[in-house]
């Protein structure tokens, strides 16, 4: 028998369909009898679905500005270097 603690550790694998058929059956049996774990698994599923719908946070504007400036600088240097190597 799986304990509630076991369920809490493998709930993602259950929801992501990464369990063997046998384990999956054992989880299903536990969930059938345990409303607490059913609650947990449903809530975890809502959490995952919510994560699927939101994006990775964007960096702050100041970070973006600084990084873009560095990129422009890198690109300029690369261009200058390639010119130098192409010159006879």
């Amino acid at each position: 028998m799986l304990s509630c603690k076991d369920i809490s550790n493998i709930a993602s694998d259950y929801l992501d369909s990464n369990l063997s058929t046998f384990m999956k059956m054992k989880v299903k049996m536990h969930l059938f009898m345990c409303h607490r774990c059913r609650n947990f698994v449903n809530q975890l599923k809502s959490t995952i679905d919510t994560l699927h719908s939101i994006k990775t946070p964007s960096p702050e504007k100041s970070v973006i500005d600084r990084q873009v400036n560095e990129l422009l600088e890198i690109a300029k240097n690369l261009k200058n270097n390639s010119k130098k190597t192409n010159d006879p």
Binding site: N39, T47, S53, P59
Partner: protein
């Protein structure tokens, strides 16, 4: 910029288009940071990102499109970070065993026999739509994410928020699939805990 396909984006990047740079920085920077921090730690992650960008812009004309641009970029970050570690003769310590032995939920949530001591509370907002409609909850998710170890940030962001294939994530982070699944579950469980705490506080207020 959103409507550009990857080929057009690459052409613009090769042409040195500032808007294209801005677009990729906005879309990739945080993930680049999570990956760099996972491997070298926070102190020199910034330097690794700068070194990575030099490699990325140098190699971009040879990009063959065998993976998505983002996966390719993140693998360059990972390689830069690992070579940086080698230079400093430090070993790579990612997703190490001590971290994997931890439980996904706090031990005091369970009795010794494995039953819940404090079962999950009922949620007022239970469906993803309801969860998404609350700006406060979105903030809570982002704040919780901020506090996760960088490797968990990488995995939850790449897998759950961006749908990157697990196989690519394992290559980028140099972790086995089973470890990455444990780390992903741990990250999700922490986010679940914070949502639960928030909803519990709401109940008290009502």
């Amino acid at each position: 910029m959103e409507q550009l396909n990857e080929q057009e984006l690459i052409e613009k990047l090769l042409a040195g288009d500032e808007h294209a740079y801005r677009y990729v920085v906005q879309a990739y920077h945080n993930n680049m940071m999570y990956v760099a921090k996972s491997i070298v730690g926070p102190a020199i992650a910034d330097e690794v990102i700068q070194e990575s960008w030099i490699s990325i812009l140098k190699a971009l004309p040879k990009f063959e499109g065998r993976s998505s641009l983002k996966t390719w970029v993140l693998r360059i970050v990972s390689n830069s970070a690992k070579s940086r570690l080698r230079k400093e003769s430090r070993s790579v310590a990612m997703g190490d065993a001590s971290d994997l032995e931890m439980l996904s939920l706090p031990a005091d949530r369970f009795h010794e026999n494995g039953h819940w001591t404090a079962p999950p509370k009922q949620w007022n907002m239970a469906s993803p739509d309801e969860l998404l409609s609350s700006e406060e909850l979105r903030d809570i998710i982002y704040k919780t994410m901020d506090k996760l170890p960088p490797i968990q940030q990488s995995i939850v962001s790449l897998r759950d928020m961006e749908g990157t294939p697990m196989e690519d994530i394992c290559k980028i982070l140099d972790v086995t699939e089973s470890n990455s699944r444990v780390l992903l579950h741990r990250a999700r469980a922490k986010i679940w805990l914070e949502i639960e705490r928030y909803q519990g506080n709401q109940n008290v207020k009502l």
